[in-house]
Each structure stands twice: as structure tokens, then as C-alpha cells.
């Protein structure tokens, strides 16, 4: 054990300085807090709560879709033997989508080569260029950043390689044949979640919207949630917190618990992305004694989240329509290769609760429309 003694007065002042630095940081943060808080805003303006409208919307969206949204047959022969390259991005959604794309491509008589990357722009660019050199007929990248892919997209255009994506902010145009799960298509999810909260609360909701601003594709969901929520229940309150990417899978539940403890009137938590912000949340709420005080709804999810819905720990989710995204991208390519215009379509969304959850949700994703394969195959003039 060291027993350093007899230090000069200078040495003694430094620890004090350190304390002051730490506290200064806190004060700085407090100042920042004052100017940056309450992004979501509260309700406040008095008006009539339309629980009936909320009820109607929830009822409309509580039945699992049985029909895919694309209804237009291709009407021409879709060529077989096409080579598709799917550039995986190193996250769960991409890993799940690879097998779905292979399944759909199999119906069309195509092959899908899945190239793993960590999702970093340079790796995706490299894989894209390699796919062009490899003679791919089309390339699929999830959540593509069009600006980061400008060069390979231009090269693909020159080489006659088609490009489709999902969950991207990219607009369809000269470089992008098709994009699905766009912000506009995702927007109704926010309305569904707002209606569920207003309906369940009977117009007495105080909701916390948990946003991940890094997921820009979901910004529209937050916007429509707030707009619909205010429309259906002007007196209901809401606020928004942002969860940084670095907190996902770590302290996101703790951040939510902290907010709930400091805002004890909040009785609903709305997760913009259930799979990443909801992991471990119900356990954290139980430990904090909040499990019975707040109800959770959310967008997206994974097997663990769907099990929480089945167990009643999460009130409702709008499940991610991964099968719909992938089959829609293949559909766009099929139309292009068949020489017909790409037909717009959107994913199927549905409010899943404990009461209407399907019994066969094993695996990381499940199709929203049960006989999706047969329906798509029929549109393509193929047999599933």
C-alpha cells in the first residue's frame, strides 16, 4: 500500500480541479438539456377525444391480412436463369432476408448469391462492384444509402445491372429501379400505434415515443404517430426520447425506465423499432416495479418480441413485413426482365396482439400473408 505524504499544495489542488471539471460537465449538460428537451411536445390543446375513430382504425387493422397488396399480374413470360446478388449488411434483418430472397428467386427460376458484409459503405461498395464484374443481372442492398453508392450505381447503370432496395430513403429513378418499405409506405404504422394507444386508454393516454433517430427511415412513423395521436385525442399527452445507436442492446431499457420514473404519469411506451429498443425492456420494467403501470406497443420486432406479445408483456406490435419486402423487390425485377412496367405496391401491415397472434411464429420472421408464395407465384405466372 502506498502512503504518499508530503505533497505540495499544487498536487492537492488537482483533485479539486478534477471534481470541478466533472461537475462543470454536468452543468454544461444541464444547460444543453434546457435547450434540447421536449422535442415531442405535449398534448394540451383541449378538444374532443375520438375513441370511436381509434376503435374503428384498430378494428380495421387487427385482422391478419390474407391478401398481398400487389394484385397486378405480370402478364408476360418472366425469363429464368437470372443471377441476383444480395449484399447482406451484417444485421439481423439482412441475415433473415437472404433465405427469403432465395426462396422467392427459386420460384422464378433465378439464383441468389448472398454476399456478407459488415454494412460499412466501403464493404458494400466493394461487394457491389464485385457483383457487377461477376455478371450479376441485378443487385439488392437493404437500406441503401444512394449517395454512398453513387459510383457503383453509375457503374451498374452502364453495365445494365438492375438495382432494387428496401427500407431506404432513396427515390426510385434512373439508378434505382424499385424501393419498398419507404418512409411514405411506413407512415400508416404510426397511425395504427396511435389508434391502439388511444383506444386502449379510453382517451386517457400519456405516451412516450421511443425514437432511434439513426433509423431515418422510421422518422415518418414518429410523425404520423404524433399527428394521429393528437387528432384522435387532443388532450392526451405525449413526449419523445431519442435512443442513441450505442445504447441499443445495452442501456436502452434503462434509459426508458429512467424516463418513466421521472414521468410517473406516462402509461404507454411506443417503440419505433421494437427489436432493438425492446430487448430486455419488460425485465427492466418488472425490476423497476413499472410493469403493471405502463403498456408497450411498437413497430417491427423479432422472435423474442413476438414471444413477449404472446406472453402479454407487450400489448401490440406491427410486425415487420420482411417477406413482403423481399417478394416485392423480386416482383419489380421480374416485371423489368419481362419487359413490363414496374407496378407499385406496399407492404402489408397489421396490429398483432396476444389475441390475434398466429401460433406458428417460430423463426426470426414470419410472413404476414400466410399463402404469400402461391399468390406471388400466380402473379408471376409460375407455380409455387
Amino acid at each position: 500500500m502506498s502512503t504518499t505524504t508530503g505533497r505540495g499544495p499544487r498536487a492537492r489542488t488537482w483533485p479539486l480541479l478534477a471534481t470541478l471539471m466533472a461537475l462543470a460537465a454536468l452543468i454544461l449538460v444541464a444547460a444543453g438539456c434546457g435547450s434540447d428537451d421536449e422535442g415531442g411536445g405535449g398534448g394540451g390543446t383541449s378538444g374532443s377525444t375520438d375513441v370511436g375513430a381509434a376503435d374503428q382504425l384498430v378494428n380495421d387493422k387487427s385482422t391478419r391480412p390474407t391478401q398481398i397488396n400487389q394484385t397486378k399480374p405480370i402478364g408476360k413470360e418472366v425469363p429464368t436463369g437470372k443471377k441476383i446478388t444480395f449484399i447482406s449488411c451484417g444485421v439481423e434483418a439482412c441475415a433473415v432476408q437472404g433465405p427469403i430472397l432465395k426462396e422467392g428467386a427459386g420460384i422464378l427460376g433465378w439464383s441468389v448469391k448472398e454476399v456478407g458484409t459488415d454494412g460499412s459503405p466501403e464493404k458494400v461498395q466493394g461487394a457491389f462492384e464485385a457483383a457487377i464484374r461477376d455478371g450479376a443481372d441485378a443487385v439488392i442492398v437493404n437500406a441503401a444509402d444512394k449517395d454512398a453508392l453513387a459510383k457503383p450505381l453509375a457503374d451498374a447503370k452502364k453495365a445494365g445491372v438492375e438495382f432494387v432496395t428496401c427500407c431506404s430513403l432513396a427515390k426510385q429513378g434512373k439508378d434505382v429501379l424499385f424501393n419498398t418499405a419507404t418512409p411514405e409506405q411506413n407512415a400508416p404504422i404510426g397511425e395504427m400505434l396511435a389508434a391502439e394507444v388511444v383506444k386502449d386508454s379510453g382517451g386517457k393516454a400519456n405516451a412516450l415515443y421511443v425514437n432511434v433517430s439513426a433509423f431515418a427511415i422510421l422518422a415518418a412513423v414518429g410523425d404520423t404517430f404524433r399527428a394521429k395521436y393528437k387528432e384522435l385525442c387532443p388532450d392526451c399527452k405525449s413526449d419523445t426520447i431519442d435512443i442513441p445507436l450505442t445504447s441499443l442492446g445495452k442501456d436502452a431499457p434503462d434509459r426508458i425506465v429512467s424516463y418513466l420514473r421521472s414521468h410517473p404519469d406516462v402509461n404507454y411506451v411506443v417503440l419505433s423499432e421494437s427489436g432493438s429498443t425492446g430487448a430486455g425492456l419488460s425485465g427492466a420494467l418488472r425490476a423497476a416495479g413499472l410493469a403493471d403501470k405502463v403498456k408497450i406497443v411498437g413497430q417491427g420486432g423479432n422472435e423474442a418480441i413476438y414471444q413477449e406479445v404472446e406472453a402479454g408483456n407487450i400489448m401490440a406490435v406491427v410486425p415487420t413485413a420482411l417477406y413482403s419486402y423481399d417478394y416485392a423487390m423480386l416482383d419489380a425485377l421480374a416485371r423489368k426482365f419481362a419487359g413490363v412496367p414496374v407496378a407499385e405496391t406496399s407492404p402489408e401491415f397489421w396490429l398483432m396482439t396476444k389475441e390475434n397472434a398466429p401460433s406458428n411464429m417460430s423463426g426470426p420472421a414470419f410472413p404476414i400473408v400466410e399463402d404469400y408464395k402461391a399468390q406471388w407465384a400466380k402473379l408471376w405466372g409460375k407455380s409455387a
Binding site: A95, G116, P364
Partner: protein
């Protein structure tokens, strides 16, 4: 440092100016509570006061204390896992990957029908096996620990992807006993807090009350001198990495249980917080030595600050900023204290003198990367 092998242990020579039996209790207590020993505790108290004034309704409550403990127990476990190798001046950068791997492995085993206890034992076994590989790479192959464990971390990441296909392992079977390992709470305090406390006590005892602990510190301070004094430096470093692997493996299982699934990225977010806690902890109690008590103080200090900021609804960037400022301040102060002490010793400014045991402390935390 005066080293010897009295009783098989590295003995330390007491300061000659002290009377037999040591200094009076009051002086010892004052010494123990000196700012340079437990400065973080004073900062911690200051933080508690600030937040109690800032958010008086929610911060100064028992619920907040429980929340701080619950939400930082796994960070604490991760930090303790690397305390032993760091004491022996060996980095283990692979621990976060080990946490992920054991989490997904145990989740997969449980989903596959393996009894929970067997799955947990296999998970810990995997951690120990990776610790063994790390030890072989670092000690036997004599590859720098920073690079060596970074490389094994990359290999473990490959294994994780192989096992999971980058998809979380979740199943209804994980909702039972497996989740209970990390989610059971006793009056609001979850079991990981208990694990954290038990591991901390075990490491405190090892490092402070056993010959092995003293040899570990000696190894960390000066491996050549320790070797000449008869310490099995390589053996200690080897075992420290194996221990780290086992503890990281256990931490990963607790983490997966807390999440209720095996996440293919579950452990990696703990890499920086754990190192932050253990380095901040090294500035406490033992003046530059990595130690369990200091790690606990650091985890609680950082956890209190981040929880307080969250309760105050501070912006999302504020928590990372808080951790960074506290860490830099603490390490800078420690470095300055060391230099001031050395300078004053050299110029004979002080009268009390620096004890012979003071040498191992010099800059261990702040200069480890330079010297390792």
C-alpha cells in the same frame, strides 16, 4: 519496491518511520479517505447532491439506488473480468466477444433442449477455453496482448456469426429458467447485482489477501524484477487470461439471460464501458493498481451519473460526454499526482517519505499501454 519471498509471498517492507503496529487508527482512516485515494467517492457524493437538487422528486430515492445497481451490474461484471489480467499488465480485448459467444451458445443449447445447468457449465467452459487460447497466444506465442486478444476477438466474432448467422437466438424456451438467471429480482434488486458483488469480493480477496494477488501486482509492475524474485510471471499471466475468459463467459450468460435471447452483438457494447470503469477504478483505493474495490466505485460513479442524467431527461449525448469527462479527469489527475509525487520525492520536499511499496503504483493505469 522491496520484494522478497517471505513465506512464499512477495513481502512488502513497512515504512521505517512508522511505529510497530502501524499508525494510529485516526491517521489510517484519514489516509484511507484522502482525496487521492478515494477521490471518486467525493465526486460521487457531489454528483448525488447535484442530482438530488436537480431532480428532487425521483433521484434521491431507494428506487434510483436499485436502478443504478440493476443497470450497471453487467458492466461491473465485465469490468471485473478484465481486472485480473490488467493487474498482471495483460490486456484482454476479446472479453466482449467472449460475452457474446457464451450468451448465444448457451441460448442455442437451451433452445436445443440441453438442461439449463449443463448449458451454463458448457458456456463457462467455452469462456475458459477461449481464455486458454488467449493465454497461449499471449504467453506461449509471446504475441503482444493488445494485438493477440484483438486477433482472437476477431476469430470469436467469426464463430459468433457461424453459430447465429447474425440473427438473435430467441425461443419460448428461453423465457423460463434461462431468463430467471438474469431477470429474477429480490425486492427490486436483480440477481446480476448479487453476482457482481460475489465476484468483486472474490477478486478483492485474491488481489489483497493472497500471495497470488501480490505476485500478480508484482508481475504487472515489473515482470523482470518479479521473475528474478522467483515469481512465475508467465504462469500468472497465463492464468489471468484463463480467468478473464471464464468470468467474461459467465458475464455473457447473465447478459443473454437479462436480454432473454442470445444476441449476436450483445457483448460488444460493453467493451469501452468496462475498460472505462476498470481504468477509473485503478485511480481509486490503490493509487494506480487495478483493484476490485476501485472498480466497484467507478461503476457506481459512472452509473449514478448516467442514471441521474437520464432521470433529468438530459439530451442523449450527455451520458457519453459525462463518462468521457470523468475518465479523462480521473486519469489526468492520477498522472499528475504521480509526477508530483516523484518530483517531490526527488527533491526531498516531503518529510514523510514515500514508502518502499509505493513504486508499483507509479503510473500503472496511465502508462500501461506505453509499457506493455
Amino acid at each position: 519496491m522491496t520484494t522478497g519471498t517471505s513465506g512464499g509471498a512477495l513481502a512488502t517492507t513497512p515504512p521505517q518511520t512508522e511505529p510497530a503496529g502501524g499508525p494510529p487508527l485516526g491517521r489510517r482512516l484519514a489516509g484511507a479517505m484522502a482525496f487521492d485515494k478515494v477521490g471518486a467517492v467525493y465526486v460521487w457524493v457531489a454528483i448525488i447532491i447535484v442530482f438530488s437538487i436537480w431532480v428532487p422528486d425521483t433521484f434521491p430515492t431507494l428506487d434510483t439506488a436499485k436502478q443504478i445497481l440493476n443497470s450497471n451490474a453487467i458492466t461491473g461484471l465485465a469490468a471485473l473480468a478484465i481486472t485480473i489480467p490488467l493487474a498482471a499488465r495483460v490486456f484482454d480485448l476479446s472479453f466482449a466477444f467472449v460475452m457474446t459467444l457464451t450468451g448465444v451458445a448457451v441460448a442455442k443449447l437451451v433452445v436445443g433442449g440441453t438442461p439449463l445447468l449443463v448449458a451454463i457449465l458448457i458456456g463457462i467452459g467455452i469462456g475458459l477455453a477461449i481464455g486458454l487460447i488467449n493465454a497461449t497466444v499471449v504467453v506461449v506465442a509471446k504475441i503482444d496482448s493488445f494485438i493477440g486478444t484483438l486477433a482472437t476477438g476477431s476469430l470469436i466474432q467469426a464463430l459468433i456469426t457461424m453459430v447465429t448467422d447474425d440473427t438473435p437466438i430467441s425461443d419460448a424456451r428461453l423465457a423460463g429458467g434461462f431468463s430467471d438467471v438474469g431477470q429474477t429480482n429480490i425486492t427490486g434488486v436483480t440477481l446480476p447485482v448479487l453476482y457482481f458483488a460475489l465476484v468483486a469480493v472474490a477478486i478483492w480477496y485474491l488481489l489483497e489477501h493472497t500471495a497470488t494477488g501480490r505476485r500478480l501486482y508484482a508481475t504487472g509492475f515489473n515482470p523482470d524484477a518479479s521473475r528474478l524474485a522467483g515469481v512465475s510471471v508467465d504462469k500468472l499471466r497465463f492464468l489471468s487470461l484463463v480467468t478473464s475468459g471464464g468470468l467474461a463467459g459467465a458475464s455473457g450468460i447473465v447478459l443473454a439471460s437479462t436480454l432473454g435471447s442470445g444476441s449476436p452483438t450483445g457483448g460488444t457494447p460493453y467493451l469501452l464501458p468496462a475498460f472505462a470503469a476498470v481504468f477509473l477504478g485503478a485511480t481509486q483505493l490503490k493509487n494506480g493498481r487495478f483493484n476490485a474495490g476501485g472498480t466497484i466505485i467507478a461503476v457506481l460513479l459512472l452509473g449514478t451519473g448516467t442514471t441521474g442524467l437520464a432521470l433529468a431527461a438530459a439530451p442523449q449525448w450527455s451520458q457519453a460526454m459525462f463518462v468521457g469527462v470523468v475518465l479523462i479527469a480521473a486519469l489526468a489527475v492520477t498522472g499528475i499526482q504521480r509526477r508530483t509525487a516523484v518530483a517531490s520525492r526527488g527533491s526531498g520536499v516531503h518529510g514523510g517519505g514515500v514508502s518502499g511499496t509505493d513504486q508499483p503504483d507509479v503510473g500503472t493505469a496511465t502508462t500501461l499501454t506505453d509499457e506493455d
